[in-house]
Amino acid sequence: GAGVSQTPSNKVTEKGKYVELRCDPISGHTALYWYRQSLGQGPEFLIYFQGTGAADDSGLPNDRFFAVRPEGSVSTLKIQRTERGDSAMYLCASSLNQETEAFFGQGTRLTVV
């Protein structure tokens, strides 16, 4: 596609449920980033993939959060046992490689009720 695509655009889930957020990067981009943006805050880094592997997952807040990119293209951010504090906008970005500009998707707004 022409840009980074994130689905769904909005997700409402109940506390304790499991959710998956999907990111389709720009074709050919090997680097992929996930960020979380809480209300009134700037985006915070979660995890960075280079190809299929997580090169840096230091931003994941706890072990309820996990992300995969099995074929080096689409990535899924998985959140187990969701909590109200997980409510935020989750942003995905991709770049040709680590040394080139990253392009952001429109984000998935997650609301945990």
Binding site: V4, Q6, A31, Y33, Y35, G40, Q41, G42, P43, E44, F45, Y48, D56, L91, A93, S95, Q98, E99, T100, E101, A102, F103, F104, G105, Q106, G107, R109
Partner: protein, 114 residues
């Protein structure tokens, strides 16, 4: 570790007036600097970036920013704002030169008053 401080959380300004949004950063290594704009319920759009070279960088929508290494600042300016510039603006710094992993400031909400 890098950090970014945006000194103003909200900036109201009248239409056609000039505006400056302030950004200071701290880092022990050379970094790249960025300004992004976010419209309500949208993702981030790159306004401009500083990688190296001229310290005055021009971006889209008439915005420009000046990198000041001695003051560790990267303030964003526009000489005459439009209603359509109403949005939130984020300053960001990379992990280091050659990396595009970003650390963002908390953002500045620019409100343009007709």
């Amino acid at each position: 570790a890098q950090s970014v401080t945006q000194l103003d959380s909200q900036v109201p300004v009248f239409e056609e007036a000039p505006v400056e949004l302030r950004c200071n950063y701290s880092s022990s290594v050379s970094v790249y600097l960025f300004w992004y704009v976010q419209y309500p319920n949208q993702g981030l759009q790159l306004l401009l970036k500083y990688l190296s070279g001229s310290t005055l960088v021009k971006g889209i929508n008439g915005f420009e920013a000046e990198f000041n290494k001695s003051q560790t600042s990267f303030h964003l300016r526009k000489p005459s704002v439009h209603i359509s510039d109403t949005a939130e603006y984020f300053c960001a710094v990379t992990l280091g030169a050659g990396s595009y992993q970003l650390t963002f400031g908390k953002g500045t909400k620019l409100s343009v008053i007709p």
